[in-house]
Symmetry: C2
Subunit: 386 residues, 2 copies
């Protein structure tokens, strides 16, 4: 099948505490790496439009972020827009870029940027919460650790999942992040560390929760037939599905399946002409460890309800059946909201080009990213292949 696009360059900053850089500086850093990564070189004038994922930029009292970033990277005047779907903003920025290519653009800039470690006016915890149902749930105390704790408890109740299973996801992701120079948390942990850590929202402890982080990522994405102008090793976007769901947690039929993930993955597999069985590695949205376990089920890597034992078995380790979150995931690479989805694509791009160093997944040819906003209120699944 004809792919939707090709990624011919990619860049990503280190995620984590970046008090040395503002939104602009972070984005410029990612842009420079992306341009430098284009094997045969890139004249920036080839870029026709920009799409930037970001959520809290207005918390920095900056609207018009997209145009401003174009100016910062030397593309003053270029059409550009910011897109926001909470934590899924980055993958929806890619979606807008894919549409623009279909509409005739040769090459577009897709990026994401976020500063969560210092947000003016509000603190970062409040910003992290705004992807939920503020009016009906969040103001009454149901913030995200609580939402995902309810998912975890229900999964334990329905399927016998255990705290050790959640811990296994965290242990794996910390181990992977230890080999990723761009990760926020590079300390290895044990299952015992995770189980003994302070509880945030029982059954979830500190190591079940991803850290707020600063960061940016950028992709140079072109029409597939132009890819070889820029590189002999393009990574193709073979398919992307997107879906939304109810804002309120209470309106869900099930809280152990995220329907937006199921719908988005179905469409992504269909477009790519592939299936879960053929996926060689995946970056999934593990804002909390139960989310990774449920994602493995909803994406079809294992049967519904079996995500806990599946992850704990080593099937998702670097040398496992489907390595999941080789980057360290949101859990340990970090979660700079708008940059997260683009950072996932950066990781899969790096892996499919065989450039991931000690965390390289051997022989990977098909990779997937799963990025969601809030409790799966918005979701995008993207299939990449060499």
């Amino acid at each position: 099948m004809r792919p939707l696009a090709a990624i011919v360059g990619a860049g990503c900053t280190r995620f984590g505490d970046r008090l040395d850089a503002g939104l602009k500086e972070l984005f410029v850093e990612a842009w420079r790496e992306a341009v430098g990564s284009v094997d045969k070189g890139l004249d920036p004038k080839r870029v026709r439009e920009g799409f930037i994922g970001s959520m809290s930029s207005s918390g920095h009292q900056i609207a018009n972020l997209a145009g401003s970033l174009m100016e910062q990277v030397g593309l003053r005047g270029l059409p550009a827009v910011k897109v926001e779907n909470a934590c899924a903003s980055g993958s929806y920025a890619l979606r807008m870029g894919l549409h623009a290519l279909a509409a005739g653009a040769d090459l577009v800039l897709v990026g994401g940027v976020e500063k969560m470690r210092e947000v003016s006016g509000w603190d970062s915890r409040r910003w992290l919460g705004v992807g939920g149902d503020t009016e009906n749930e969040r103001f009454h105390g149901l913030t995200f650790p609580g939402v995902f704790a309810l998912m975890a408890r229900r999964h334990m109740e329905e399927f016998g999942t255990k705290p050790e299973h959640f811990a296994a996801a965290a242990v794996k992701n910390h181990a992977n992040a230890a080999e990723n120079p761009k990760a926020a948390l590079r300390n290895k942990i044990t299952v015992e560390d995770a189980l003994r850590a302070p509880r945030v929202a029982a059954p979830l402890g500190l190591y079940d929760c991803c850290p707020a982080a600063d960061g940016a990522a950028a992709l140079l994405v072109c029409r597939p037939e132009l890819a070889k102008e820029f590189t002999d090793t393009p990574v193709y976007v073979a398919g992307q599905g997107a879906a939304t769901d109810t804002l309120a947690f209470v309106h869900r039929k099930s809280v152990t399946t995220l329907e937006a993930t199921v719908a988005a993955s179905r469409e992504a597999y269909r477009q790519a002409g592939t299936s879960a069985k053929e996926v060689d590695l995946a970056e999934v949205h593990d804002c909390f460890t139960p989310s990774e376990i449920v994602a493995c089920e909803d994406l079809g890597f294992c049967e519904k309800g079996q995500g806990g034992p599946y992850v704990a078995s080593g099937a998702t380790a670097l040398d496992g059946d489907v390595p999941v979150n080789a980057s360290g995931g949101l859990k340990a690479k970090g979660h700079p909201i708008g940059a997260t989805g683009v950072g996932q694509l950066y990781e899969v791009w790096t892996q499919l080009r065989g450039a991931a160093g000690k965390r390289q997944v051997k022989g990977a040819e098909i990779g997937l990213t799963h990025n969601m906003g809030g409790f799966g209120v918005a979701c995008a699944v993207t299939v990449l292949r060499v």
Copy 2:
């Protein structure tokens, strides 16, 4: 030339103080009018994706706005995204919709919504300011009334424009709004009223400035070849251009020409195979009266520098050469940021279908919208025709 799309339904709330409705209620109101306006009826399942322009929604502590609004209008699950380019968010939402149609969608929902009269956490004045260069200019006192006052002063200095010229734009727009039931300010004013009003930032007085407003608007937009399935009187999107410019006022070569307007209009005319001379009516971004005068120049309705006498001559009145802001414009219809650009498109759609009542521009066949974020940091110009 083949048009890009057809608008087959449109809705718009009353703009202004809407303390009776939140973001969701406003959007549902616009959606219902849009669906009801589809002459041959619309099965909402035909909608394939949603694009929502909004700026301050995170000021209401609501991210994931787009998915939430899909749920509110009965389209739970639909892919949807919020786009933000400050005050140009609405027209960029259309841009994303046009791209999606090119990528294969049959019909999309394009909307905009904003609550400016009650924003939690911050006040609306602060939200209105965030489209400027917060770090380098706004925090030092250069807010938008000041920016546009500097544009006005420089225009007076370079071209001999007079306060009476700015007042003429306000008088015309208030008169037009008096015939628009959806307008926020429906009181007629005189040139003397405008000149005697309290100064906001000299030379601009109260009547030179648009009011903050609540509001929403929605469009149903399909591939042009499908239009006749929905209506015998579609309005076609013949072309759209978009461009950005520097965030900082101080970095501009000129402050009496907005280069993003010039570039965007050039592209829109090219795509539509038309020119300024053929435009029968225009909705332009008159956040302040000098902006309308400069837009008339930058869009090519009159020579550079002649915008003041041109507007004062009556050329832009309802029965003039190119009626400008028949709706009342931002100045008197009101300016609910993310809804503004979509509201402009609603007005031109209404006019081109001959349904504008007492403010109808006779025989209008080609209309234009000009929507910008901040001091022309982002701009989109769209040409519509029957």
